[in-house]
C-alpha cells in the first residue's frame, strides 16, 4: 500500500458523523486534510453494518464509546434471517426532524446529492394496548379515531400553538411561560391525548421543540409527517460528509490506526501523529471526537439500555417504517417501565433489511436493570 504524505494542515481521526462534518468543512475551506480511521468500515460509532459485521462488532467491541456494557446475542427462533449483506444495522439509530439543523448542514455542504431520505410512514404512541397515531397536521386530526371532543381540542391546540409561534393568538404568552405538560392540561386535551403531544417533543420540551415539529410537518408537504429516515441506514450520513471532504481534496484512509499524538515539548501544541506503522505525519491541528478520546475515562453520561431485534413481520399492518413511544408506566408487570421506551422500525423499503424482515431498535434510559429485563416486557407486548 502507498505510504501517506508526510504533512497536512489538519488530521481528522475517525469517520463518525461529527468528525466527518469537520473533515468536510475543513476541506471545503481549502485546508489540506488527512482523514483517518482505524476501522475497516466508515462511520465509527455512527456506522451502519451488515448483519454478520454487526454481530462481530457487538461481541468484540465492548470498549466502544457507545457500547460500554455487556452485549447479549439472543436467538428466538431458527428462522432464516436472510443474506447478511442485505442488512444495514445502525450503531446509532436516528430519525431526523425535517427541519433539523443537520438537514440544513447537509444542504449547505451539498452532501444531499448523495443521500436518499424517506419520510417515516407513521409515528405512534402505545396507549391502552393500542397504537394511537400521532397526527402529522391539523388536517390529520380528523382522520384519527379520536372522539369528537378530543378532535376539536387537538385541532384548536395545534392552531393556537402554530399562531403562538408567530407571536399571535391567545397562547402567545402562555407558550413562553408554561411547561408543555401544564399547557396541554389547561387547553383541555384529554388524558388519552396528552401523551401523544408530549411524545412529539419529549426530547427537549417546550416551545423550540414544538416549533421544530410544526416546521418539520410542513417542510415536505402538508400531512406528510415530520420525520426523515435515511435509505441504507444512518451510516450514510457520515459517508456523505466524508465524500464532501474527499471531493474537496481530502485524503481518506481506512485501516490506519494512530499510535500516538506528537506534542511539542516547548509549546504543548500537537504537531502531528504517529501511525501504528511508525510513520510520523506533521499537521497544524488534530480533530478527534470527545467520546472517542474519553473512552477509557469514567463517564458521567447517563446510560441507555438498547435492543436491536430482527422481526419477521411489521408491527403495523400498513407501515414498514415507524416510530412508537411507550409512555412511562404503560407496560404491565411488577417492574413496568419507569421511563418512556422508544421503538424505531425499518425494513426493506428503506433498504436496511431483506424482504419480509424488519429491524427494530428499542431504547430506554438505564436505571440499573439489565437491558433485557428493562426492554423484554415491552417487546413481548408486541409479539402477539
Amino acid at each position: 500500500m502507498d505510504t501517506l504524505p508526510d504533512a497536512f494542515d489538519i488530521i481528522v481521526l475517525g469517520t463518525g458523523l461529527p468528525e466527518s462534518i469537520v473533515a468536510g468543512a475543513a476541506a471545503k475551506a481549502g485546508k489540506r486534510v488527512l482523514h483517518l480511521d482505524k476501522e475497516e468500515h466508515y462511520g465509527s460509532q455512527w456506522a451502519s453494518l451488515p448483519l454478520e459485521e454487526f454481530k462481530a462488532w457487538s461481541t468484540g467491541n465492548t470498549s466502544s464509546p457507545i457500547c460500554s456494557g455487556p452485549v447479549k446475542l439472543l436467538q428466538a427462533s431458527s428462522a432464516d434471517l436472510g443474506a447478511s449483506q442485505q442488512y444495514s444495522i445502525d450503531l446509532s439509530p436516528k430519525v431526523l426532524f425535517c427541519s433539523d439543523e443537520l438537514i440544513d448542514a447537509v444542504l449547505q455542504a451539498r452532501a444531499h446529492n448523495s443521500l436518499e431520505f424517506k419520510l417515516l410512514q407513521g409515528s405512534y404512541v402505545w396507549s391502552s394496548g393500542q397504537l394511537v397515531s400521532i397526527p402529522a397536521s391539523r388536517k390529520d386530526v380528523f382522520k384519527t379515531q379520536l372522539g369528537l371532543a378530543d378532535k376539536r381540542a387537538l385541532w384548536r391546540f395545534l392552531k393556537h400553538a402554530s399562531d403562538a409561534l408567530q407571536g399571535q393568538g391567545p397562547l402567545k404568552e402562555a407558550f413562553d411561560d408554561t411547561p408543555l405538560v401544564e399547557l396541554l392540561k389547561t387547553q383541555g386535551l384529554s388524558k388519552q391525548l396528552r401523551p401523544s403531544m408530549q411524545a412529539l417533543v419529549s426530547a427537549a420540551e417546550g416551545k423550540a421543540a414544538f416549533a421544530r415539529y410544526l416546521a418539520s410537518v410542513a417542510r415536505y408537504g402538508q400531512g406528510s409527517g415530520a420525520f426523515l429516515a435515511l435509505m441504507y441506514g444512518c451510516g450514510e450520513l457520515a459517508q456523505a460528509f466524508c465524500r464532501v471532504a474527499a471531493v474537496h481534496g481530502a485524503l481518506t484512509a481506512l485501516r490506519h490506526p494512530v499510535a500516538a499524538l506528537l506534542v511539542a515539548e516547548s509549546t504543548g501544541r500537537c504537531t502531528g501523529v504517529r501511525l501504528a506503522t511508525g510513520q510520523a505525519i506533521a499537521c497544524e491541528g488534530v480533530g478527534e471526537s470527545k467520546a472517542e478520546r474519553d473512552r477509557d475515562r469514567p463517564s458521567s453520561l447517563r446510560g441507555v439500555c438498547r435492543a436491536v431485534c430482527i422481526l419477521d413481520g411489521s408491527l403495523h399492518r400498513e407501515h414498514s417504517s415507524l416510530s412508537i413511544v411507550i409512555p412511562p408506566g404503560s407496560v404491565p408487570g411488577p417492574d413496568g417501565n419507569p421511563h418512556a421506551i422508544r421503538l424505531l422500525q425499518s425494513g426493506a423499503a428503506m433498504s436496511v433489511a431483506p424482504p419480509d424482515r424488519y429491524v427494530l431498535y428499542a431504547s430506554t434510559p438505564w436505571t440499573g436493570r439489565d437491558a433485557e429485563d428493562a426492554l423484554r416486557p415491552a417487546l413481548s407486548a408486541f409479539s402477539n
Binding site: L115, E116, Y232, Q239
Partner: protein
C-alpha cells in the same frame, strides 16, 4: 418500452472503478464533454457529471470516486443503488487488471445484483506498450458475466460504444422507480429557494 411511451428519461446512476491512473476520469470526460487531456490531474472538486443519451432515452448520473480508492477506502455509498458500473484497467499495466478483478469481486459481493457491469481495457492507443492481451481480459470478462470493450479516451476509440452498450443493457422496467417506493430529495425550504434552479 415503458420509458419511451411516457417520454420520461430513465435516470441511471453509473460508477467507475479501477486503479489510480487507469483513466476513469479521462473516459468520463471524453464521453461527457468530448475532451481529452494528456496530463489529467487526479480528480478534485467534481462529484457528479450527467450525460443524457436521448436516442437511448437514458440520463446517466456519473459519480466520481473522489480519490477514495487510493488507500482502498472507497465508501460503500459510492456504488449503492448504482444501475451500472464500468471497471477500468490500463492495458499497459498488468497490475491494474488485478485491481480490476478485486473490484469486480467487491461489486459481486456488495453491489446491486441487477447492476450492469462492463470491463474497459483503456489506453488501447498504446499498443506498443501492451501488457494485457485481449484474450486474457475477454476470458475474465466472460467468466464473470461482464461485457468487455477496449477503449482509448485519447483517440475516442469505443468510448461511445461502451456507454451505448451499457444504456441498451439497462433493465428498463425494473429500473423505473415505483412512486410509492421513491425517496425524497432534500431541498431548501421554499422561502429560501432561489428563483432559478441552480446547477448541482
Amino acid at each position: 418500452m415503458l420509458a419511451s411511451d411516457t417520454g420520461a428519461l430513465q435516470q441511471a446512476k453509473l460508477v467507475l472503478l479501477g486503479d489510480m491512473g487507469a483513466g476513469k476520469s479521462s473516459l468520463v470526460l471524453r464521453f461527457v464533454k468530448g475532451q481529452f487531456f494528456d496530463y489529467q490531474e487526479s480528480t478534485i472538486g467534481a462529484a457528479f457529471l450527467t450525460k443524457t443519451m436521448p436516442e437511448q432515452n437514458v440520463k446517466f448520473e456519473i459519480w466520481d470516486t473522489a480519490g477514495q480508492e487510493r488507500y482502498h477506502s472507497l465508501a460503500p455509498m459510492y456504488y449503492r443503488g448504482a444501475a451500472a458500473a464500468v471497471i477500468v484497467f490500463d492495458i499497459t499495466n498488468t497490475e491494474s487488471l488485478g485491481k480490476a478483478k478485486n473490484w469486480v469481486k467487491e461489486l459481486q459481493r456488495q453491489g446491486n445484483p441487477n447492476m450492469v457491469m462492463a470491463l474497459a481495457g483503456n489506453k488501447a492507443d498504446l499498443a506498443d506498450a501492451r501488457a494485457v492481451t485481449t484474450e486474457e481480459a475477454q476470458t475474465f470478462a466472460d467468466d464473470n458475466n461482464l461485457f468487455f470493450w477496449e477503449t482509448s479516451a485519447k483517440t475516442n476509440q469505443n468510448v461511445l460504444e461502451l456507454f451505448t452498450d451499457i444504456a441498451q443493457k439497462l433493465p428498463r422496467t425494473s429500473a423505473q422507480p415505483q412512486p410509492s417506493n421513491a425517496g425524497i430529495t432534500l431541498s431548501e425550504p421554499p422561502q429560501q429557494r432561489p428563483q432559478k434552479s441552480g446547477c448541482c
